[in-house]
Symmetry: C2
Subunit: 200 residues, 2 copies
């Protein structure tokens, strides 16, 4: 409710997040970020030498918020059902709170790939190994790990990305679309489970 009294640096980060996520790197203006942080434009450059440095900071921060730390969970021995629920619930909650996040990351990685390089290596192979292990133990039907992951994440993320197109094509209000998104937790969970079970 009440605006916390944040120090300048925190206000800059908050403002930069808001503006960069909404407008993208090319569309965001340093002045806009300064206004949002209620500081002078020169202050921005005092704390962050350049727009690029600021973007680096926000991008890596958001990237790390988005990439889930579930590699361990998949190896925890839990059933696929449990892991899937955990995944989907976490992702959809995150997406509900951060509707601009996927577009921001995807857009940045496509159009400003230079920002990817500062990201450290990620344990993708671990996830693949985890899935393959579950398949070997017959806890999962044979499916290529990449495809399974693309399916799970795509089914979660796409509705957030496609919101404007679907709203337009089906002439939905924001409230109606919100309901659809709420329904997704069950829909995606059962859809994936049904697809995977039927493969056995």
């Amino acid at each position: 409710m009440e605006e916390k009294e944040l120090n300048t640096e925190e206000r800059i980060i908050q403002a930069a997040e808001k503006i960069l996520l909404k407008e993208g790197y090319a569309g965001a203006r340093m002045q806009q970020i300064a206004d949002e942080a209620q500081i002078n434009k020169a202050m921005l450059h005092y704390y962050y030498k350049s727009k690029e440095k600021l973007m680096e900071k926000i991008f890596s921060k958001k990237f790390n918020e988005f990439i889930p730390k579930v590699a361990e969970v998949i190896q925890s021995g839990a059933t696929f059902e449990v892991v899937l629920r955990y995944y989907i619930d976490n992702y959809l909650d995150l997406l509900e709170k951060n509707p601009y996040l996927p577009l921001f990351l995807i857009d940045t990685m496509h159009r400003n790939p230079e920002f990817i390089n500062q990201i450290p290596e990620l344990p993708g192979k671990v996830f693949v190994a985890g899935i393959e292990q579950q398949i070997a133990q017959h806890k999962l039907p044979p499916i290529k790990p990449y495809h399974l992951l693309l399916n799970i994440i795509g089914l979660c993320v796409f509705p957030v990305l496609a919101r404007p197109i679907f709203k337009k094509v089906f002439q939905l209000t924001d409230e109606e679309y919100q309901i659809i998104l709420k329904e997704r937790k069950e829909e995606v969970y059962h859809f994936i489970l049904d697809a995977v079970k039927n493969r056995e």
Copy 2:
């Protein structure tokens, strides 16, 4: 192979498509488009009064290329399997030829929603009615049409959008990712069919 001798307007459209799709509205530069079309920047404004008008043209053109005209097919009485194959094959072919298209449309609709308004109404309701009819005739198990459509399109489109992220996380080469995309026609088709069948 050989560069056709196109007239100026065609060259402008081609150039604008290339640059706008790749860079987005905010990132694209009129000079860049002029260079690509091998004309003077003033020529751009001779044919298209402003960047906005040019974007309007390209956006509506691309939007109409992307939104499929399958509403009739779904009502054609064909089985769900046939319609699904048709959908998926068409979409994935289109996406393979136009990898920048989904990001361009999604990005534009999120960040420049003013361009949506010039798009005429679309027969989304017809699709919904078609699906509901198939469900009533027990040709399809009960599933909310919006969800079915989100699932189908999401599973097709997301891998194209997520390419950079997946390449990074799993350290894939372009060739490796290309193979994954090729596999998708079968993967998506069976995944959806299995999920839907299991619902009955």
